[in-house]
Symmetry: C2
Subunit: 431 residues, 2 copies
Amino acid sequence: MSGKGLTRSPGSDARGVAAEELRRHNLALIIDRLHFAGPMSRSDLVTRTGLNRSTIGALVNELSELSLVEVGPATTASGPGRPSPIVRPRPEGAVVLAVELAVDSIAVATVGLGGHVFNHVRVERPRKHLLPVDAVAVIADLARPLLGSLPANHKFAGVGVAVVGVVRRSDGYLHIAPNLGWRDVPMGALLSDALSTGHPVSVANEADLGAIAEHRRGTYPNARNLIYVSGEVGIGAGIIADGVPLHGAAGYAAEAGHTLINPEGRPCRCGGTGCWETEAGEAALLRHAGTCGDTTGLAAIAELSRAAAAGEDSALCAFTQLGHWLGLGIGNLINLFNPDVVVLGGLYHRFYEYLELSVVKGAKSQALLPAWDVATITKAGLGTDAPLVGAGELALSALIADPARAESLREYHRARPLRESGAPVPRSQGA
Amino acid sequence: MSGKGLTRSPGSDARGVAAEELRRHNLALIIDRLHFAGPMSRSDLVTRTGLNRSTIGALVNELSELSLVEVGPATTASGPGRPSPIVRPRPEGAVVLAVELAVDSIAVATVGLGGHVFNHVRVERPRKHLLPVDAVAVIADLARPLLGSLPANHKFAGVGVAVVGVVRRSDGYLHIAPNLGWRDVPMGALLSDALSTGHPVSVANEADLGAIAEHRRGTYPNARNLIYVSGEVGIGAGIIADGVPLHGAAGYAAEAGHTLINPEGRPCRCGGTGCWETEAGEAALLRHAGTCGDTTGLAAIAELSRAAAAGEDSALCAFTQLGHWLGLGIGNLINLFNPDVVVLGGLYHRFYEYLELSVVKGAKSQALLPAWDVATITKAGLGTDAPLVGAGELALSALIADPARAESLREYHRARPLRESGAPVPRSQGA
């Protein structure tokens, strides 16, 4: 019943494949390989795609004309025959702005095709109530110099945003972000207006994007079934099922932090009781450490970190208690998703050494043996940058899926630069 | 980041598409449409697949030569131009044996392409410890007359089996079936030997197959995200995510019955404590009804059914209590999968009228609002036959994915008939 790519049983809305669609599919396949695996020889492309030599040659030429790749001389001969030229993705061929809006920090980066990071800035911010318009202004202020410093010949391809909340994929509408205290914010529209780059702004849940980043650029790039679980104020989760991000009907899937795990437990910010994040989120950690009621999360976490590093029993015990609940919930996810790998990010990444034993013990106690036997639990290969990396992938994804779009890309300074105010900006500015 | 069919971003093991693969894909697409949607005109096939008229004509001819479809005169003219011929799937072009091994019953059916059921038999069986070899013998005894009565010109295409347990997809190895009391049973091999049809026997989890059946042949055929939850002795669940069955790394996904929902709860047959099925399975229902400790489940359930129909408070209250926990767990699944529809089968289907209010209330209390707003909870359109229908689809799936396989299909009586014993059977027997 299973199967991959074209051999899977067509879904109820699958359509016939015409020759033009076939060519576009193959073009996308090659740019996808180069984007994620990096430069490789034309021979390697033949081997990795199963397409023949002349087809690869024609497709590489087309990508080269689109300025997305460059072909250079072979470095060394491998195997018989003459050395095969090396094909490289050109970062300047498609540059995007990646944004992460987390509870304790805001980060932006300019990222090119192939994953090259041109510039990157993250600002911590005090955890107080921030209005959406203010957050958007901070993002625009951070983005301006990064975008302004892009050389004139770099092609601008769009904006991707990771945000801690439940987001509608179609238009970036943020339904609810309990840990920011926000509800019903048209985040996509606000950012599109503030950034005014002439490109769509794609917004998605932070953990969903963390999962995509860990899946494509993390430690286990061949894992087809991956669960990303990130410790924040709450718990973020993103899921890759059979190589594909799990979105659900409207993009609201993977809200694992709000699955009931303890009906006798505590009220949750979502309005429910005993959700997983009430037992394994940041507040639970501080409660176990005896600092409950603290509102300055960052300082309390820093103190707990110091105490654990000094080997203080109460701190280590707090992590063990958190790990127990974290592990039980991971066991649930293993039973539901039968993953190859569970990747821990955020707080869980930062304190993995203190959590590992109790997480594994808790997860093993809940998981059924066949699924447990094939699952690996590990910390995020990309560290705390996973959501930001994922935001870059989100912004590049439309181009990767249809590289012919590169034809319509323009240099950032010839597109619409960021407005300082509502006034239009002359096109020649800054070039 | 999303996308369907060929436009999705290629996974890390996707390969280039050659022209021959394209033709096979389109052939599969057409037989898939006819198999699930039933007879339609050549014009409808053009509209529904997006392929052009001459391509459809050639592909339909090829399917006709493979004996999988027949083309008949148009019944009525629709729209301008001459009436378009009607293409019908031929059930006798590919017949499979579908088997369901449940806790309380064993069912077999002969099913043809297009979903036509030739024959169907289900036997209830007392819930006592049954050895795997005995169950296999019962299945073979039930299958023999059904297969023997197939007309000589029917082509036999394989066997699909639904079983209550954790099954390895690759070879039908049953790791564990707590509610049958089985562990480590090579079910695929045993059945292949006993049925000896010369065809592979595909085995899968009962609820996974129920989900496939409800997705393709249930009340919501256009739902791309569907969760099937079936009340048995335990809880079976199967999940369709973005149109594709969720298998996980090795086929063990969707074990929702063994997710922790009440850490202060009761021991579960899996060895854990407080799993969902300890609160919402059959034993919980009987416990709520005050008949705990009863081992003859069927009789107790029958009595409870009578009492509920008579309006007895204690019985209705037991269903309400069960529905509360069932709903909470469904809320968890809604948060994780953002489904279009949650379909209730088995016991939950049978007693839906008593459960509905409390299930909806419980699910709503746990689900986040955006996901709740798009989800529908309903009872199984196929009733208790969903897993058996799914087993038929499992057996047909290889042929649907690659219709050219029909060339090698043989009439059942000219293949290898069921052996009464270990002795070889003459090929001419019964023809």
